[in-house]
Each structure stands twice: as C-alpha cells, then as structure tokens.
Amino acid sequence: MNIPAVVELENLEKSYRLGEVTVNALRGVTLKLMQAEFMVIMGPSGSGKTTLLNIIGTLDKPSTGRALIDGEDITIMNDGQLTKLRRHKIGFVFQFHNLIPVLTALENVELPLITSGIKRRVSRDRAMELLRRVGLQDRTDHLPDELSGGEQQRVAIARALANHPRIVLADEPTGDLDTQTGSEVVQLMHSMAKQEGSSVVVVTHDPVVAERADRLVEMRDGRITEKAPERLAGQKHTIRAVEPLPPEPGRSLSQPN
C-alpha cells in the first residue's frame, strides 16, 4: 500500500540574525512525514528542532527550500492562508501554558472549532467527546489553574485534535511533567492520534517519548544527522487501546496571570 506523505520538506534552510551574528538554524533539511506516522525529533539545544517544528506548523517560514503540506507549498502562502491551514490541518501541544487561562477546559477545547466558525452545538459535542476520551469528562468546567500539569496537557491534546487535524505538532510536551505523568501523556497522544489518523511530530529530549516513535529523527547543527526507522522497527510498541486516564486530584499548578 502506498502511504501518502502529509508533509514534504525539500532542502530547507533557515537563517536569522541574532544581534550581530547570523545563525543558520536549518541547513538543507529534507524530510517526509507520512499519514498517521508518529515521528520524534531529538537533538541537543540549538540543533534546529523547534525551528523545524515551527516551519512545519506554518508559524515560521524557511529562508530557502520548499515545504509542502498535503501537496500545498506553504512557503508561498500569505498570513490569512496560513491561518486557515493551521486552523484546519494542524494541532499544537506546547511545553506549558498551553491553555487560555480564562477559559474552562471545555472552552479551551472548543476554541479552534469556534475560530473555524463551527456551530456552537457541534463544537460543544466534539469538545465533550474529546475530553471524555482524555478522561476529563468531570473537569470540563474547570479553569486551567484548577487543573494539574498532566490534566492541562491532556486538555491541550484534546484541543490539538479538535479539528481532526492532519498533523499534530508537540514541542517538549512532557518537559514540564514528572516521568510518570509524562509517560501517560505521551501514551495518550500516541493512541488518540492513531485513532484520529493524524500524523504526529514531537520534539523532545525525553527518551520515554522516543520509545513511542514510529520514526526517530536526530538533529545536530541544523542538519538531520540520523534517521533510525530500522533501529526501531523491531522494537515497535504494540498500540493498545487507551483507557481514559483518571484525573489527578490534589495536584494543581498555579499559573502566573
């Protein structure tokens, strides 16, 4: 079976000025992301991981090279077109402060649906369904600062998947969590993305996350230095149905205003 590529990057270069110095964040990156693939990008700080993620997420543009999402060249799109693309095809999970502090868990999940102009009743049903699937059906009316770090990330995963995106991008999603919670969050993201048929790109330093990868990409100095699908081929984890995770009572991370 021929699996289509969701993302195709060809010889991407990205450089920017930092004071008097020119930083070459990406140096000729070529990469494909297949449908429903769970890709993990690892590498030391400053290797260009996040820059690559931002370009895939249409938050940033490459200096040279081509970047296609579903066959469309995002490097020639204007801001309005990119906004629509993100709205319909991309979901994000960040390291922390993922949620809008004044909106409840339910409203946070609804947010991308509302910005897409989907009817309130439909968006509410979809958000409720996603929160149920991440095990937060009892926490729908809670504000972010009433949720633990793990719960917040689960809300962020639900929100990232709300619009049935083609790609979910996660930047250090476990960076602010303890090992156990981080593992649960990655497992949840992995299983839900598979269920939704979404491709996932995770940037991380966390080896636990890397263990979940269909494909592991390593970066150094703006270049992809190692592709290791073969290394992981024989160790693939069996994808299990994920039971909704219980909330973590008593844990609450305060967020600054």
């Binding site: 938050l59 309005g80 960040f94 949620l99 947010l111």
Partner: protein, 857 residues
Amino acid sequence: MSLSAKIASRNLPKRRARTILTITAVFLGVALLIGINMATSSALGEFNNYINKFWGATDIVVTSGNGLQFSNQTLNTVENNALVHQTAERLVWGGVIGTASSNTTFFLTGVNPTNDFDYATFNITGTRQLSQGEVVVDKVIAEKLGKGIGSTLNVTTFTSQLQSEWILLRIVGINNPLRNLGSTVYISLPELQSRVGLGGEITHVYASLYDSTKAIQAVNELQTVLPTYDVSAPKAEAVQRIQGQTTGFQIGLNVMIGVSLVVCSFIVFNTLYMTVSERTYEIGIIRAIGGSQAQIFKIFFAEGGLIGALGTVAGILGGLGLARLFTFVFETTFSVPNLPVAQLTPGIALAGLGAGLATVLAGSLYPAISASRINIIQAIRPSARNSKRQIPLPFVALGAILMLGLGIGESLRITPFHVNYLDVVLVPIGLVLFGSAVFGKAGRALTLPIFLLSGAVGYVSSRSGRRRLLRSSVCFGMITITLSFAIMIGGIQSGVRGALQQGVQEAIGADIILVANQSVPVSFTDNLTSLQQVASATPLSPSPFSAKAFGKSASSSIGIVAVDPSIFPSIISYTFVNSEPVSQIYQQLASDNQSLLIPDSLASKLGVAAGDQLSILTRKPTADNSSSIVSFTVAGVFTGPVLQYIQFGEHFASDSVVVSLASQREYFAGRDTSPLFLVDLKPQYKSQATGVAQDIAGRFPRYDFAENSLTLGELLSLVNDTINRIFALILLILYFALLIASMGIAATMIMNVSDRRREIGLLRAEGMSRSQITGLFLGEGTLLGLFGFLLAIPGGLLLLKGATNSTSLAGFFIPFIVPYSAIVQALVLALVAVLIGSLYPAIRASRLEITRALEQV
C-alpha cells in the same frame, strides 16, 4: 456571548486593581461631561425660561428710530408680514405722582385690553379690563404708594405740546410682573391718546410670530420695509447676547472636559498595552491553533469596549449626581439661586455615550492592532523575543519636532495658514513625544533630583523609568497635558483680569462712580468739586431714548451718552484707534455739536471710521416735535474690552455713541441732566474713596447715592471676584482631570510593581528595607511628576500664547502675562498627583513577601 467578549469579560476581573482604576477614570471623564453639560443646560434653560416669561409671547418690538411716537398705520405693515401671528399697539408715555421734592415717576402706558395678546398674559389681580378713568398698576408702584384696588391716583403727565395734564385715575387691578422691576401704570389706549393729544399715534408695536425661531428673519424683513424704525427681537437677541458672552466660558469648560477625556484615553491605552504585553504568550497560542489576526484584534478591542461600556454607563449615572454639584457651583458662582434640577436629555446622554466610547476605543485601537500583529514565534518562545526591541527614539524625536514646530508656529501665528485649535492639539502631544525621546536618552541627569533624596533609590528608580519608556511616557504625558492647560488657564485668568481692569479704568474708571435715583442737573458737578477731597467731577449722561444710525454698511439702533468734553478726558482715558490725537478729538467734540465718538465694534458694524460722516435719526426738538436725520462726523473711534458688559438704559456701551452735552441738548432731547457722575479725588484722598463716597451720599440724601454708587476699588474688586469665581469653576474641572491622571499613574505603578516582583524580592533579599522599597516607587513617581511638570511649563506658555492671539475666547485680546503663581501651583499639583498615584502601589510593593516575590519567573 462571542469568543472575544467571553475572553475579554473574564480577563478584566483578573487584573482587578487596574481594571477598576481604568473604569473609574472613564467613569469620571464621562460623568464630568454629563454633569457639566446638564448644569450648563439647566442654567441656560433657566435663562431662556426667564427671557420667555419676561417677554411673554412677544417676539418682535417695533419703535421709531428715535423713540418718538408714530402713526398706528405702521401696525398694518407689521401685520402684513407673513411670519407675524399677532400684533398689539401701545403708547408708552410718562407720568408722575407727588410733589417736586418727593415724587414717583413711572411709565403711563396705553393698551387695548381686548386685543393686546401680551397684556392678556399678565398676572393681574382684580380686573384687566380698562374703562374710562381706570388703571392697572404694577405691584411695586402700588406698594410704594400704599395703594390697592379701588384706590385713586392723582397722576400728572404732559401733552404732546409739553403742557402739564392732571388725571384722576382709579386702580382696578394690580399687575404682578415676573421681576420686581415693574414701574408701569396701564391705562386704556384711546383715553391716553386723547389726554395727551396723540389721537391715532403709538410708540410701540408688539408682535408674536408663528415660529419664534424665525425672529431674526422677521426683524430683517420688517427692518427692510420700516427703515427709519427700530425693529428688535428681544428674546432672540437676549439669547444671542448671553451665548456670545458665555462663549469663552463654554470653550474653557469644553477644553477642560476634552483634556479629561484625552487623559482617560491615555489610561486605557496604557492599561491595554500592558495587558497585551503580559498576554503575548496567550496571543501566540491562539494564533498557533488557528486564531486569525482579526480575531486577536477583536479580543483586545472587546476588552477596551467592555471597559468603555462599563465606565460610560456608570459615568452617565454618575453625571446625574455630578450635575447637582455643578448646578450648586453655578448657583454660587453666578449668584442665581434655585436653578432647576438639571435634566438628562437624550442629546446629553448620547454625547456622553459617544464621548465615553470614542475615548476608550481611541485608547484601545493601537494596543489591539499591536496584539494582532504579534509574531507568533516570538510570542510562544520568549527566548526568541528581541530584547533590544525599543521605540526608535530618533523617529519619535523627529515626529515630536515636526509637531512642535507646527504647533509653535500656530501659537505664534507665524504659519501661512491657521487652523483653529491646531496648536492646542499639536503642542501638548509634540511635547510629550519630545519628552519621551529625552526621557529615553537623558541618562543619569534625570536621576539628580532623586539622588538628592537617596542615592540608592535614585539609582534604581531612574533606570526603571527609562526601561519602561512607553508607560513612563504615558504617565508624565498625562501630567504634562493636564498641567499645560492649568498653566494656560492661569495665564488667561491673569490676562483677562488685567484686560478687564484696564478696560474698566478706561471706560468708567473714576475714583467714585455716583449713581443717583433720578436725573440730576449737570451743574451738580459744582457741588462736587466744591468738596475739598474732590479734584474734578463730570457727568456721564445716557439719553433715555434711542437713536438710529445709518452707516455705510448697515443701520442700527444706538444709545446716546453725553459727556463734558472739557473735563471728561481728564478723568477717563479712552484708547482711540486710527484716530487723531486725543486732545484734537475732544476739541472737535466740544466745538462741533455734529461730531461724536464711537466704539470700534459699532464702527465696524456700521462701516465707518474716524473722519467719516454718520447719519443719525435725531430727536431735534422743533415746534411740531418732528425729527430729522443729521449727519455727524466721527471724531474718534475708541476701544475697550468691557464696553460690551456696561449697559446704559436699553443700550450697552459697545452700542452707544458719545456726544457732548451741547449736542445731546440740540439733537437728542437732552436737558442738561444726568443720573451718573464720575468723581476724581485728589491724590491724598484716593485711598479713602469709600469714605468720601459715603460722605457725598450723606450730604445729598435726596439722590440716594448710597444705594448704587461704587468706588473704583469696589468695581475692580467686583470684576476680580467675578473672574476668580468663573475660573475657579474651570479649574475645578481641571482638578478632576488631574484626579483622573492620578488614577492612570496608580494603574501604571501597580503594573510596575506586578511585573517587577522578582526585582523587588532581589532588592529586599540584598538588604533593602521596606521603606526603601516604598521610596523607590515614590521616587519613580516623583521623577515622572517633575518631568511632566517641566514639559508643562513650555506647553502651558505656548498654549497661552496661542489663546492670547485670538479674540474668540473672551471677545477681546487678552494680554500675555506669564502666570508665575499658576506655574508654582502646577508644580504642587504635579507632586500631589504623582504621590496620590504612587502611594498605594509603593506600599503594596514594600509589603511583598520576599519568598513570594522571588517566585516570579
């Protein structure tokens, strides 16, 4: 609820202190606008009401140009005008009761009770119908004479041939006029015409219109068909006059309200801009998950809109309360008791709503736009933000210099064009921008005042101010704008006082102004000059009748004031413009009975200048009392800022010409009498003017001088007092603006404390005491206040220069006087405002727990 409104409404309570302060500022600004407008509307409404009651249904009054009687055929001409609804004819004559030494004079007015629409509205006790020998008298006369209904009056009048005529009349009704000025006895018109030998003749035609708002149009139409008559619209003219006289005052009030609203806009801008800055990450998240720029704009604009809506609605309600306060202040200021409770009209409510929302939306626009344009990468990755991103100061400085250059050019009137109030906008804003550039670049020089207090505190506070340049600029900008206007108002107050005092001295500036209860022979001056304290005395004799002048460009009803040209200029120094030397002017006035002096406003209206001829319809007494038009030479044109406020009989000094007593005798039925005498004292007695005036009143009790006479000192003090009361009201509004600015400073300082918690923790950890932390924030506030004050000095003086270059403010040119006391007052106000604004945030900062403060990332 839309997404934007939901996020906005939930974010505002999270920043409770600054939200409350911002809403309160908008509330105060709108309440001020509503309160002032309601109180002003109440005062003007009361005035209009009074004018309407006083004149009843009468819209138009027609008299002959020189006040003489005319044929009642004129009534038909008036009736034929399409705008006229009803007419009434009257013969206004004179009568007296009593003896030569003790008498009561009054108007003996002939009316037709059956068809006089105005008389029909009189509040008369008894009957209003008038048969032969019956009269209705004004209450004041009845009380003075001790008469009532059924009493008889033995009235002396005179015929058209100036023969005395005695009439025995019976009172059948008492008229209760609106004010206690009534001095009229009403008699049947045919009876009066018959008694005085003026069958079919009248002196006044009264008319009402179908549409009172067309009074001026009706005057113009009737004046065209009745060129030698004086046609006036008393109600419309009174309203026009009061509007003209209060224009400057209303401009002052509105400018101050505008300043308050601009300060509100600054506060909203500052609050929202800081909010955008704090929520940059949140903006990045929303953008990353598909929120568009327009949606981000809406979220922050909605936040501004919500603040605006809350503040505006509260302000409209608060304005109702404030209106009562201002109505009370108006009552006190203008000595008008019992003004009606001000009403909130839809117009005023809409003005408040519009101003409040416009103010807030103007303040929200830029922050909302900047939020929508935030770079997503920089928003979600603080490390990617360019920490060196700063306002490009050279551009700010360039913009400031351009604005200041244009503003200063406008103030000094050296630009090739002139746009009203352009300098009022450009000078303060240009100065604030210039101040920003200086504040950002001035370095340690600015710390000097604070270093005097505490080196350590000054060291930190000065740098903190420059680090948050935008919010610091907004803070000192509010102070600069408010105090610039405070200094300008102080300067205008000094200038108006100076101009009016000089004007009073020029117009009627004798040491004592004696006002008698009757016309006194001008030879009375001999009695005055015989007193040892008196250097000289001269009569100032206004004619009781109008005249009509026919100039090159217009004709106008004028007043006549007669003086003795040989003595008058030694007491009163008129300022003549484009005229011959003063001595020659008065020499011509003395030698030529067909010469006159004319105020510049009237000369300009009639289109005449010094040396021109001016035709005047005189009352030159002839055998048959006929009148004639006589050509007069304009000997001099004089000017003065108070002429429009001094009234002689029916005419203001600004509408009256000055002739010699001999000219008045020859052409204006003068009888060498005057109710006014100007007295100049010998130098050693000038300081005792009040005592001398009392002495004169005691020596000549029959003239009742004590009742109305004034000394120059009393007059000037009256002028001063009035000016001070009017300006106190304008300054009161300015204090409100300053209070609003204090709230803005407080909101900014609270933000400073909030986002410098870690810095405060570090300073405390390294040994700074609570009082030093308090001092740190108070020092920063003081620095902003002092800087704002320093900018306000040139700002205020430039605004003052612009104001003094225009007559629109006061109706005359105001001299430019540097208001030193206002500048000192501004310094005190600046310090008070910043201390009020900084105190609570400073105390809050000093009370932060060190460990909690250090938790801030």
